[in-house]
Amino acid sequence: MAPKDKLPGYRGFAKRKLEEAKVKVWSVVRVVNPDTTYEGILLPRSELGDDRHVVLKLKTGYNIGVRISEETIIEELGYSPSHYALPERDVSFDPKKPTVALIGTGGTVASRLDYRTGAVIPAFTPQELFSAVPELEDICNLKTLSLLEIFSEDMQPEYWVKIAEAVAKEINEGADGIIVAHGTDTMHFTSAALSFMLKNLSVPVVLVGSQRSSDRPSSDAAINLISSATVAARSDIAEVVVCMHGSSSDEYNLIHRGTRVRKMHTSRRDTFKTIGDIPLGMVADGKIKMFRNDYRRRSNQRIVTADTKIDPKVVLLYTYPGMQADLIEHIIDTGYHGIVLAGTGLGHCPKTILPSLERAIEEGIAVAMTSQCLYGFVGMNVYERGRDLLKIGVIPCGNMLPEVAYVKLIYVLGHTRDHEEVKKLMTHSISGEITDREPYNGYLILQGELN
């Protein structure tokens, strides 16, 4: 391992000055400029900062940037290191409590602030998590596994495979529930992928994240973690679900089926919604309430397999006014095997791309149609364009969400490229991704005073 950087974030001129002064981050320093003198703790800088400023934490608690020049004199007055660790809480294994395996994919699951330095201390090991979120202790024994260290926007189909395999392994080794800690941006892609890949599931697999980082008081991290641990440890669900805030307050969390859920808001804490259906259930005050019966039940079997054959050569395309055929031509020419269209309305696209779609299908590329409306089913027999598309072999995906269809096509093409087989698999529900009907209360968008 490389020697630890003593001046994280500093570079160029600032780094040189600080090195000359023989100070490091967390040193108590005096910075003497021709006009003023400042004293404080030298803080780390963000990597994107310039090299003409140093950041100090003053005695009053405020952080300031101090401009430095050749004349600046920097002296070390002391050293006040940040305790970059949480006090660990030793929790012994309780055979009476269920055991939950938490699989980390990147980012902080929970954290606590060190007010003295302003540092965010990440919590990940069971001891750290129990320390940061003590309520977990009453719910389950916890086992943690850091599988990936990525941002959720950098998620790749290959990583879905890794996660699915890890989940299967943990369940077969005895976990009573699984939590996958995941960034929220692409959580619904991963939940769909796991839904398709994991066979013979016998315990809950709960994806969870937070919309507000745990360094702010409005963070949803702790409650999401507690709720998902409750679902993983105690629910009788044996499916892949997403468990996130159900309202903008800390009232309850919803349990969403992994193939019907979607991130619907950039910043609200209740960003995840079940689309075109109602959620499986909710968690509030440690109690689970199910809204429906049609879910797979928990069992003692430990024969989970991860069917991870995939073909990631698939694109997901919005159709839009002005869309040109060259885009499709390029996709064909670069060797893709599948195209998922998020078409307009009932599943339409401009006629400009029709010939190219036809060519794509002729060349053995699977073309599937979903709706960018998100709510409702594609209905491709209603208008002429729909019928044209069906005639050339575009596969209608019912009310499958575009992202889910994208994930599913990757999964399906990993198994077969035969057009008829692909069509059969794409048009039949494997994991609840296509529903029989949309319930009267499945379409919920807040508008004005109305629900």
């Binding site: 003023t36 009053t60 965010v120 980082s213």
Partner: protein, 517 residues
């Protein structure tokens, strides 16, 4: 950029963003310099409207409004100096013309510490005049708390005596005639012994405010329970019978030196309340606890929360560092207006007005318009100042919407005055008319029936008055001036300057006297 956690609900996101923009400043106050430790830009929190039990209502109109926080160094030594410093800072802010005006736009938090006491913050001082009294009463409070500490030590009190040993005394009051001890639902009556506190709960810590009230405030702030009853109160007044009081003393095993505190609440809440009481009692042995208090109008203060340290500040992860360009800083510095105390002297000297007027012009942000008028027209500077200040205030008292008066309105009035189109006597009624927003100044004059009087017209009026008062002039000679001036002015007030009238009238009278008629 930093975040300061606010967990009381007044900032929905849980933190206030705050940014240091100045350090190590100073302001001259009565011949000494008071340090300005920091100046920060912050976003305001929501304003608490009311509390109902544990529910707090806020109004959000102030939330997120940028504010400037100015922190002085602990250099202020007397309540009077405190007022003067606050006044000076206010004057400085007003003189920039960049700050909002109105009640609540400048709020003072004061920090008071005395020898042997502790730093106590008093928040929400909305009126400057409250400052000296608040400071003085806080000093009294801290001295009283120190006295209580000394008495406790004298009685041999030890910290570990103050344990949370709650007794449920509901049974004692089962048949009570005391209205405030009548229970509802799952309420219990809980009591706790405060060793060696006898008489101290009834001690005054601020004028009209006893130590028991300090405890009650803290209980209310933390648990929402409206009140407590303690042994230094007149229990009979509450309807507690002597038998009940005795039973209570027995149940709590009270010595003569001991005090007790009662609460009526659901069990958990009641315990929490008594925990607050016991903890506060224990703190009494240390003297003055660090707290944040809320200013009360009578100059006292009540407990708000424990004092926060700098420890709740941490970096705002949403804002990248803002780099302040030295060139921009220089440009801003070069555009700063003069310090108001310099400006005040200059205004007074240069324009020949009193320094009180000069100060008021600055405070009311009228210095610029004053200078503009005085430099543009040949008018009396004192008249301009008194019009801008006193006349406007007088009209305001009469209910005239003076906020409608614009810079153009004032300029117009003084322009007409300098051109002799109106007399200075017409200014108040003219401004009142202008505040109703007529289309222009001439319309206002027409509406008022003020037509400028020519010299010839005035002479004619004077001649008529003189002619019809000949006998008066003949009998009284020059002493007839006063009554005649009154008679003329009655007809010409507001239409022409009184000085001109006097000159012409005097000339006419002496002419009559000299030549007879």
């Amino acid at each position: 950029m930093c975040r300061k956690n606010y967990l009381d609900g007044s900032v929905p996101c849980g933190f206030q963003r705050t940014l240091v923009i100045g350090l190590n400043g100073r302001i001259p106050v009565n011949g000494k310099e008071v340090g300005i430790e920091t100046i920060c830009i912050e976003e305001d929190a929501a304003r608490k409207v009311k509390e109902e039990g544990k529910t707090v209502y806020y109004r959000l109109d102030r939330l997120g409004i940028p504010l400037v926080e100015i922190v002085t160094s602990p250099d202020i030594e007397t309540p009077e100096e405190l007022l003067e410093t606050a006044f000076r800072i206010g004057l400085l802010l007003r003189s920039t013309g960049k700050v909002k005006r109105g009640i609540g736009t400048i709020r003072q938090d004061i920090n008071v510490s005395i020898r042997g006491g502790a730093r106590v913050e008093i928040k929400g001082v909305q009126k400057l005049e409250w400052l000296p009294k608040l400071a003085r009463n806080e000093v009294i409070r801290q001295l009283s708390l120190l006295k209580i500490r000394d008495e406790l030590l004298h009685r041999g009190a030890k910290e570990d005596e103050y344990k949370l040993d709650v007794k449920d005394v509901t049974e004692i009051f089962r048949e009570t005639r005391s209205k405030i001890l009548k229970r509802k639902g799952n309420e219990r009556i809980l009591a706790v012994r405060l060793p060696k506190f006898s008489g101290l709960l009834g001690m005054e810590v601020q004028p009209g405010r006893r130590f028991g009230k300090e405890l009650a405030d803290k209980v209310r702030a933390i648990t929402g329970i409206a009140g407590i009853i303690h042994s230094d109160e007149n229990l009979e007044k509450y309807g507690v019978s002597p038998q009940e009081a005795d039973a209570l003393r027995l149940a709590l095993e009270l010595d003569d030196n001991d005090a007790f505190v009662l609460v009526k609440a659901p069990e958990e809440m009641g315990k929490k309340a008594l925990e607050v009481v016991v903890k506060r009692a224990r703190l009494s042995l240390k003297g003055v606890p660090n707290e944040t208090r809320r200013a009360l109008e009578n100059g006292n203060s009540e407990f708000l929360r424990e004092l926060h340290g700098g420890a709740r500040l941490y970096p705002d992860t949403d804002t990248p560092p803002i780099i302040i360009n030295p060139e921009w800083k220089r440009r801003v510095a070069s555009q700063l207006p003069e310090y108001p105390w310099v400006l005040k002297e200059k205004l007074a000297k240069k324009y020949g007005i009193s320094s009180e007027f000069a100060e008021e012009l600055i405070l009311e942000e009228k210095a610029e318009i004053f200078k503009e008028i005085v430099e543009s027209y040949r008018v009396d500077s004192v008249l301009v100042a008194s019009t801008l200040l006193q006349t406007v205030r007088g009209l305001e008292r009469e209910g005239v919407p003076v906020e409608n008066l614009t810079r153009e309105d004032f300029n117009g009035v003084f322009k007409y005055l300098s051109e002799g189109k109106i007399a200075k006597e017409a200014i108040p009624q003219l401004l009142a008319k202008l505040a109703e927003k007529p289309s222009n100044l001439d319309d206002a004059l027409n509406a008022l029936g003020i037509k400028p009087l020519s010299k010839e017209e005035l002479e004619e009026i004077i001649s008529k008055v003189v002619e019809s008062n000949m006998s008066l002039i003949i009998s009284k000679g020059e002493r007839a001036f006063s009554p005649l001036m009154g008679a003329v002015m009655k007809q010409v007030r507001g239409k022409i300057d009184g000085k001109t009238v006097a000159e012409l009238l005097k000339a006419k009278i002496s002419e009559v006297i000299k030549h007879g008629s």
